[in-house]
């Protein structure tokens, strides 16, 4: 007899191609193949992945459509009456829109942020169990009012932490009982990344990223925002240009929007450092993995990252990784597959990049080791069952 499908409501802040929404796409793909689940995804705002979620069999609701007659109200209230009043107005609108959403057997809160908490607040829980997947560290968690976060962490039936760094933060800063916590690292489609890179081809990727034949191309992927800190990578490039003029180094930043505030800052910073001709911002990229094959070294200059999908994809593509020892990155990257330097030592970051730029054989060796490690530990087929075991134990009343 076919088992009755479990009904699971997934809540997310958006459907753009960034960490937590992509994690959900991977998880939904695995569930579609391996489990009988009726998935309903509610996201605060839309994005490229909405269609992917639908193709994977999920019902999708985008809460903030932005086309309703009253949608401009919160923004106007914010200007005049402040953020608290705007939040109240947003909350009322969301409640009205989502009041008929059924939570099913389990609510899976995929990321802790103001939008996901607002969605949780707007949907009647009706006895459903609550699983909170925490992909954030201090900067991300700091965007949520402390009282709201404490209440969420206290009322969750179980918590999944995206890395040991996240688990440590939840235990030490937020006093979460470690028995309610499971560490499940982020997931990557190990086969999909090299396929995407090969489909584009190294020569075409390098052409699009602005690299010549002798260029050592450094790259990073993500929104070029405060947390991802592209200025650290530009600072390292500036030092290397000054101290190692023999190297033909360039930077490709993949992701985001060049016309956004962050995009303009990236361009302005490059210009101020005299690097405008050495830095290319490739924006609105549907699948960054398709361009990874054009890079020589992946650099993660983030202030903080729980366990970045970008690094998993880079390693899966066979790239050596240079990063600060911040957040959960050291749980993946060590000297056998890249270089880790203390945050925020830009001098050491530059030195590590310089070492790899000098040694193509070392880059290949580290890249191969990284691809092997990611395949062994972080492929969807390996990681998804660990995450979903927590959900199943809740739905079966074992937790």
């Amino acid at each position: 007899m076919t088992p009755t499908p479990r009904q699971v409501l997934f809540l997310g802040h958006g459907a753009e191609r960034t960490g937590p929404p992509l994690h959900l796409a991977h998880l939904l793909g695995w569930l579609a193949r391996e489990r009988a689940v009726d998935a309903h995804v509610v996201v605060a705002r839309g994005g490229d992945l909405v269609d992917d979620y639908r193709r994977l069999g999920a019902q999708v609701t985008v809460a903030a459509r932005g086309r309703e007659p009253l949608d401009p109200l919160p923004a106007a209230i914010r200007r005049v009456a402040g953020p608290e009043s705007a939040r109240a107005a947003t909350s009322i609108l969301r409640r009205a829109r989502l009041v008929r959403t059924r939570p099913g057997d389990l609510i899976y809160l995929n990321a802790v942020s103001l939008p996901t908490l607002a969605l949780l607040d707007a949907i009647p829980r009706r006895g459903a169990r609550l699983l909170v997947h925490v992909h954030e560290l201090g900067i991300g968690l700091g965007s949520v009012p402390a009282d709201d976060l404490s209440r969420l962490l206290g009322t969750a039936d179980a918590l999944v932490a995206a890395s040991h760094a996240v688990a440590d933060e939840l235990e030490t800063v937020w006093s979460v009982d470690p028995r309610r916590l499971t560490v499940a690292h982020e997931l990557v489609d190990v086969g999909g990344v090299p396929r995407a890179a090969q489909a584009t081809g190294r020569a075409e990727a390098r052409r699009r990223l602005g690299a010549g034949p002798a260029t050592v191309l450094l790259g990073s992927v993500g929104l070029p925002d405060w947390r991802k800190a592209p200025e650290h990578l530009l600072g390292a490039l500036w030092r290397l240009r000054r101290d190692r003029p023999d190297l033909d180094l360039r930077v490709a930043w993949i992701g985001g929007d060049r016309r956004s505030v962050d995009g303009r800052r990236l361009a302005d910073e490059a210009r101020r450092l005299g690097l405008a001709d050495r830095v290319r911002h490739v924006d609105h990229v549907e699948d960054p993995a398709a361009l990874l094959g054009g890079l020589d070294v992946f650099v993660l200059p983030s202030r903080e990252d729980a366990f970045p999908l970008a690094v998993l994809e880079a390693a899966a593509a066979g790239l050596p990784v240079v990063s600060f020892a911040s957040g959960g990155v050291p749980e993946l990257v060590d000297s056998s597959l890249g270089r880790i330097v203390p945050y925020p030592d830009v001098v050491a970051l530059a030195a590590a990049i310089g070492e790899l730029a000098d040694d193509p054989a070392l880059r290949q060796q580290l890249g191969r080791a990284g691809a092997a490690r990611v395949a062994e530990r972080h492929d969807v087929a390996v990681g998804a069952p660990r995450t979903w075991a927590v959900a199943e134990s809740l739905m079966e009343g074992r937790a």
Binding site: P72, A75, A76, I139, R264, G274, R303, E304
Partner: protein, 384 residues
């Protein structure tokens, strides 16, 4: 002879352009008996100071509400029309004025809405590439400056940007219509200098955020280290919030670097000159800042100033161009901080040289020169 000025400001905050406008119009009102009629496109604590000079029309909160409600629908054009409707009415008295003085690039959006056949326009451009790009790009801003009789620039860098062709990222203003004057600085009251003690104080100043380089201030504190020459070094940032997440971001940076005990954000201060006078050093860490008034104010209170180009015009004017740090080079700036803290006498000498240079930028000295240029431009415009 100018009898009436219509002054247009983008807001009334305690920041550079509004403070400069207030200073210059205050001087014209007091010293030349000029009637000042002010239009403010945004609010701020200086509104009451402007009212002391004459009538003020500031954008009302209800209009701000309506404008942002329309903007939130994604309809940028109708949102601009909401503001334009109010602004056209607010600018009507321009026909009675002898000159319209637009106090910043952000306020230039009022220019196309001025009544036809009105007086000549004088624009004060304090902004550089990054801000101009955020305001719509140099081509757009160049169009707004097309009919300006005179463009005032507070630093040689801004004057050069104004003159550069649009294709090279400039504003394409004919060089004959550009005048460089340091922005008028109201001389701060005298404050006693504290004696050198066992702790050093380094300050930064401005709205917390990316443009003022508050993150670079934190990085500088990290690079300098906890002590210099046996003295503990404390780092205080004086300045209000930018209305975004910048303050929280910088606090995160302080936490990530483990500098909670050494670096603090003090918020806006009404007694900024006293705070500047109590410091051993002011550092200008701005990514973009053509002529920070605080540098001149600090120098006039006896506090030396070092920092990144382009916010350190004062160093050139004081005869120390070699001290201006290029390319946001934290290490180079840290070396200067260490040197000046280790050798307080060098800091005092630098401060005295900077004070002499800053004195030429004080309102009583620079405002007459600016006013003479404005009167000449108005006369030439009248002569066709």
């Amino acid at each position: 002879m100018i009898r009436t000025v219509l002054a247009v400001g983008h807001d009334a905050s305690r920041t550079g352009a509004p403070a400069t406008l207030l200073s210059l119009m205050g001087w014209a009102h007091a010293e030349r008996d000029v009637a000042i009629d002010t239009v403010l496109l945004g609010a701020g604590p200086l509104v009451e100071e402007f009212r002391k000079l004459g009538p003020v029309r500031a954008q009302p909160p209800a209009l701000t509400f309506l404008q942002s409600a329309v903007a939130a629908t994604g309809a940028g054009r109708p949102a601009a029309m909401v503001e334009a409707t109010w602004l056209r009415r607010a600018l009507r008295p321009a026909v009675e004025a002898d000159v319209v003085f637009v106090s910043s690039a952000a306020a230039l959006r009022a220019v196309p809405l001025l009544p036809r056949g009105g007086p000549p326009v004088v624009a004060h451009v304090h902004e550089m590439d990054g801000v101009l790009s955020a305001l719509g790009g140099v081509e757009h801003m160049s169009g707004l400056l097309l009919g300006a009789a005179l463009v005032l620039a507070p630093s040689p860098e801004v004057a050069e940007l104004c003159a550069r062709p649009v294709v090279e990222g400039g504003l394409a203003v004919p060089s004959g219509r550009i005048r460089h004057h340091p922005a008028p600085v109201t001389p701060p009251a005298r404050h006693p200098r504290p004696p050198v003690d066992d702790a050093a104080l380094v300050v930064g100043c401005g709205r917390v955020g990316w443009r003022k380089g508050t993150d670079l201030f934190v990085a500088l504190a990290d690079a300098v280290g906890p002590t210099v020459g046996g003295r503990a070094v404390h780092w205080h940032w004086i300045g209000g919030d930018s209305g975004d997440r910048s303050r929280a971001d910088v606090l995160d940076e302080i936490r990530l670097r483990g500098l909670e005990g050494r670096v603090r954000l003090d918020g806006e201060s009404e007694d900024a000159p006293a705070r500047l006078a109590a410091a051993d050093l002011l550092v200008i860490t701005s990514r973009e800042d053509p002529y920070p008034l605080v540098a001149a104010e600090a120098a006039l209170t006896g506090t030396p100033v070092v920092g990144f180009r382009p916010g350190t015009t004062l160093l050139t004017e004081a005869g120390h161009p070699e001290r201006r740090v290029d390319h946001l080079d934290i290490d180079a700036l840290a070396r200067q901080v260490v040197e000046l803290l280790q050798h307080p006498s060098r800091g005092r000498l630098l401060a005295s040289e900077q004070a002499r240079a800053a004195a030429t930028a004080t309102t009583p000295l620079v405002a007459p020169a600016i006013w003479a240029d404005i009167e000449t431009a108005v006369r030439q415009a009248a002569a066709g």
